[in-house]
């Protein structure tokens, strides 16, 4: 009996990325690494997800919404890029995944959702344009409240102020980036020549930070100094998601073309104006003809 093909719903992509959400990127990268036959649906409509968020993997009657559940299911079905790892390396994957969630994720939530400038300039407009009306009116704000709560309850408290909490969160994230950089070293991927689920997770968290047009912030600046992490993410993008890289290059080219075309439109507006004047003049001639006829 043919197995039903799995369907993976993720947030839409932008800025040269297949998806803008870190968790969706991690799952997409994992599926690409292991060649999982999955239908990827890029959507902006949270109604189609049981939890209101993505990624969501539907396999037959089962649905998985958490990244760790999706990875566990794929491994159980013998799809995975982790079979080459030794037991010690598999233990390292668990440990580093927890490190990313504990130290890096709060900083990303702080940057994308809690920081006012980034939220108003980048995050809210993007989600408001991706999510259909009328959800777009309140979906970004509800995600923001969840992110604020997560950062506050895990990193904040009564004993530290907002500024101190922000400083603490970014400091821990920079240390986490340093630790990842030490772990990666000069190798192409974290555990050698082949990518693993840890590489997928690191790529998911770091790629939006690399590519998105965020206002200047300490985390992006620090990541730019970790050249080996930048190199690894760029290689994963170029190797496994070349179509999205090409689209972003083409769009950059089109924006230049559109500037040129805007100049041409001004020319055509001027010509339209001339045509209008000509038609008015001819209407005047016709009316004079009509007057004569009378």
């Amino acid at each position: 009996m043919a197995r039903d093909k799995m369907k993976l719903s993720v947030w839409r992509g932008d800025w040269g990325l297949p998806s803008v959400d870190p968790h969706c990127l991690a799952v997409l990268a994992y599926c690409k690494f292991s060649g999982v036959p999955v239908d990827v649906v890029k959507t902006g409509n949270p109604w189609s997800s049981p939890t209101g968020n993505f990624p969501v993997l539907s396999a037959g009657k089962e649905t998985y919404c958490r990244v760790s559940d999706i990875f566990t299911y794929l491994r159980k079905e013998n799809w995975g890029s982790d079979f080459e790892l030794s037991r010690k390396q598999t233990a390292d994957v668990v440990a580093f995944s927890a490190l990313l969630e504990e130290k890096l994720l709060p900083a990303l939530l702080q940057l994308w959702w809690v920081d006012d400038k980034t939220f108003v300039d980048v995050t809210r407009p993007w989600y408001a344009s991706a999510v259909p009306f009328p959800l777009s009116l309140f979906h970004p704000r509800s995600k923001q409240k969840k992110a604020e709560l997560r950062v506050l309850l895990t990193k904040g408290g009564d004993h530290i102020s907002e500024l101190e909490k922000e400083a603490k969160v970014y400091k821990e994230a920079k240390e986490c980036l340093n630790l990842l950089s030490y772990k990666l070293g000069e190798k192409p991927y974290m555990f050698g020549q082949l990518p693993s689920s840890l590489d997928a997770l690191v790529f998911g968290y770091l790629a939006p930070l690399m590519k998105a047009p965020l206002p200047s912030n300490p985390l992006q600046t620090h990541l730019a100094q970790c050249s080996n992490l930048m190199r690894m993410c760029s290689e994963i993008l170029a190797t496994f998601f070349p179509a999205d890289v090409r689209v972003s290059v083409r769009r950059a080219g089109e924006s230049q073309v559109s500037v040129r075309r805007a100049g041409e439109r001004q020319v055509s507006v001027r010509r339209a104006g001339e045509r209008f004047q000509v038609s008015v003049r001819r209407a005047g001639e016709r009316s004079s003809v009509c007057q004569e006829s009378w």
Binding site: D92, A95, F96, T154, D158, E175, Y182
Partner: protein, 259 residues
């Protein structure tokens, strides 16, 4: 601002030796302390024993309120109060006691990853089991937490604490997990630790590091605390090398301290 305070503390603290009258504050061990708090306290005590630093333990009912961050344990070193495991490790390293200085950068990054794993998985699992699992919360945790207060505080304070823990675990996506899923996470964590330890004496090299202290604190608590259901005890006992590791640390650092 607190980064400035940390830097000043490090500069001033580094010039003073470890005093003789360092006190570690925690709640009463037999009647009051809860599972997650006991694990944290034991981890810090083990770390200080491993560094060979003198201190004494004072048990107070209001240790949580006295703590600068609201969490136990905290240590009083001269004029400074330092609470929780990571800040204590950082503070002790400014005094010149560093268990992990012989590690390479890669090993140190792995050690920090494993410490995060224990804080994330075992810490959250202990909070879940103590405060969100109905039987244990009602029969064990809430009575213990409120035992030192008169009614109605003995009812209100545990209820308030349970709400805070529930909000924290909901933000983390842990509150929606079932008991089996939580036990599965604990098993994954113990498996990772067991595979990392293998047959070695300590996790990194032949000397203990802060990771060994933290592992001992959490696993010893899970092995020795008798709770209705005994879910976690059964999970940890499946890993022989971890149980032997706990016995070895207890014999090395705690029997000596008591002798």
């Amino acid at each position: 601002m607190s980064l400035v305070v940390d830097a000043v503390q490090a500069t001033i603290g580094a010039s003073e030796p470890w005093p003789d009258d360092v006190i570690l504050y925690q709640q009463y061990q037999v009647e009051q302390i809860t599972l997650p708090d006991y694990a944290q306290c034991l981890a810090v005590e083990t770390f200080l024993h491993m560094c060979g630093l003198r201190f004494r333990v004072e048990q107070r009912t209001n240790a949580e309120e006295m703590s600068p961050s609201g969490k136990v344990p905290f240590i009083q070193v001269g004029p400074y109060l330092v609470s929780e495991f990571d800040p204590v490790v950082g503070f002790v390293s400014t005094k010149g006691f560093n268990l992990s200085q012989s590690l390479s950068d890669t090993e140190r990054s792995e050690m920090r990853a494993y410490i995060s794993m224990i804080e994330n998985i075992l810490g959250n699992a202990e909070l879940y089991m103590a405060w969100l699992y109905p039987d244990i919360a009602a029969e064990v945790t809430k009575p213990r937490y409120g035992c030192c207060y008169p009614w109605p505080l003995s009812w209100i304070l545990p209820w308030r604490k349970q709400r805070e823990v529930r909000a924290r675990l909901e933000a983390n996506d842990w509150a929606s997990k079932t008991c089996e899923e939580v036990c599965g996470e604990v098993r994954t964590c113990c498996q990772a630790l067991s595979e990392r330890l293998e047959k070695k004496k300590y996790f990194f090299g032949d000397k203990p590091t802060e990771l060994d202290a933290m592992v001992f604190g959490h696993l010893y608590t899970l092995l020795t605390t008798i709770l209705p259901g005994g879910h976690f005890t059964a999970v940890v006992q499946d890993f022989d090398n971890l149980a032997q590791f706990c016995k070895r640390i207890e014999d090395s650092f705690f029997k000596l301290a008591f002798d």
